[in-house]
């Protein structure tokens, strides 16, 4: 049976804000996923999934909360007819229009909420703006307070700017003072319609690693449980957990766009243009049979190219065992080939997180040695007296 780990559903491509680094091409498109597409997900996707599978089903890729809660009520009642029992629903929001009705709905349906907050106000408002160009920090922080009052503690996605890297203390204090315990960091990558990154071509891996390390040290010193997703994913692999890079094998990830278009591997493939790969549009759920999608020649060709890229990573990269071969969408977008290896995602996300963890552990060992040495000096001083 099929065991996808991630199902990304796009209720609408539309987004009600206009971030400087947004990679979504169709964020002005107000299409809402039709009842027919919802029905096709219910009838063509969910029944194929193993009954004991536990995929994460995520509303994403546009702002999900601009679609009325009433739409989600109808949609959940349809999808839950065939969804695997252990599937968990979540949504990623900019927090601007997440109303009290939404909060009640999230509680009722146990839908997990993620908020996009780029740290302290100055950093957030610099790039996460309304369509009139105003900062959205105050709005999302109000939503955070309302969620916390309802005992919902969202995980937070923070996109870093090069200036952020000199402000680790401000970021730590921001998370601590606002009760944020689960954070995921990324950078503004060259992806989709975002053609430039604030990080440019400059190698800033080390600065990001130091930024993460500073957060970890502060968290430890203050006994604040700041969980950094990228670091803990790697810690989990080092602790003996299974490494599963879901983006390198077909159909571990499935993405259904509002119009029923389907892609797999990297969710961002929806935004990547490649004539040879039919823009990574592997079919449409309304039109195509899923058996045909699974066995299509385009999937086989793409899979073979991605495997060659993974093998290149395996041969060249010392972080391979904690990564598993990078993100195919970044390889295509940045290097023009799925068969390539290192990308900005590697240099600015996986590698700094791995290095931050290694240096944190190294720091722990040094602390112990220095404590031991202080202890010995104290004993020597006492003996001299």
């Amino acid at each position: 049976m099929w065991r996808p780990v991630l199902i990304v559903l796009q209720p609408t491509p539309f987004c009600n804000i206009n971030c400087d680094y947004c990679y979504l091409r169709s964020r002005d498109d107000r299409t809402i996923m039709s009842a027919e597409v919802v029905g096709a997900i219910r009838d063509k996707i969910f029944p194929r999934i193993a009954s004991d599978a536990a995929p994460a089903i995520i509303w994403h890729a546009g702002e999900p909360t601009v679609v009325p809660v009433s739409w989600y009520r109808r949609t959940y009642s349809e999808l839950r007819r065939t969804a695997p029992k252990h599937a968990n629903f979540s949504l990623q929001s900019n927090g601007v229009s997440l109303s009290s009705e939404w909060i009640s709905f999230a509680r009722e349906t146990e839908t997990q909420i993620g908020l996009s907050i780029d740290g302290p106000q100055m950093f957030h408002d610099m790039r996460r703006k309304t369509r009139n160009g105003k900062g959205t920090w105050a709005l999302v922080m109000q939503t955070l307070l309302e969620l916390q009052a309802a005992r919902i503690h969202p995980n937070v996605v923070t996109v870093l700017h090069p200036l952020s890297l000199r402000a680790a203390d401000e970021y730590f204090e921001f998370y601590r003072d606002n009760g944020i315990t689960h954070v995921s960091f990324s950078i503004d990558e060259v992806e989709g319609c975002n053609s430039t990154s604030a990080f440019g071509q400059e190698e800033q891996r080390d600065a990001i690693a130091e930024f993460l390390l500073s957060l970890l040290k502060r968290a430890y010193a203050e006994q604040y449980p700041l969980h950094i997703k990228e670091v803990e994913r790697i810690a989990s692999v080092l602790a003996g957990g299974e490494l599963n890079n879901e983006q390198v094998d077909a159909w571990q990830v499935v993405v259904v766009a509002a119009n029923g278009d389907v892609t797999t591997f990297s969710p961002e493939f929806m935004e990547v243009r490649s004539k040879a790969h039919n823009n990574f549009n592997f079919g449409n759920i309304l039109r195509d049979d899923f058996n045909q999608l699974f066995e299509s020649s385009l999937i086989a060709i793409t899979q073979a190219q991605i495997r060659r890229g993974v093998e290149r990573c395996r041969a060249q990269c010392r972080y391979f065992e904690v990564c598993g071969g990078g993100a195919p969408s970044n390889k295509m977008q940045e290097n023009g080939s799925l068969e390539s290896s290192e990308t900005m995602f590697c240099k600015m996300s996986v590698q700094p997180a791995a290095e931050a963890l290694r240096r944190f552990v190294q720091w722990g060992a040094q602390q112990a040695r220095s404590n031991y040495s202080i202890f010995n000096s104290a004993i020597a001083a006492e003996q001299n007296v």
Partner: protein, 81 residues
């Protein structure tokens, strides 16, 4: 601190590295060794077995790997949630 180690597992890893957790095997932070899958598994396993009497961390290796990253919407490589 033992309670903190349970809610923030990296503190537990740090305790192993610092030698304050009675680990049998020190953690090797040389990149070639450290970045091997499972490089912390033995130290964590030994420590959690030894720590049974002083904390509630007596867990098996499978639980240890699941101990991290328990809350995010999706625990894989994809980073947009």
């Amino acid at each position: 601190m033992s309670n903190y180690r349970e809610i923030w597992p990296l503190a537990f890893v740090l305790a192993i590295a610092s030698g304050s957790s009675h680990a049998d095997a020190p953690v090797d932070t040389n990149p070639a060794t450290f970045f091997q899958a499972g490089s912390l598994a033995d130290a964590l396993r030994n420590t959690s077995a030894n720590a049974g009497s002083e904390s509630r961390s007596g867990m098996n290796p499978i639980q240890l790997s699941q101990w991290f990253n328990f809350f995010n919407c999706f625990n894989g490589v994809w980073r947009r949630c």
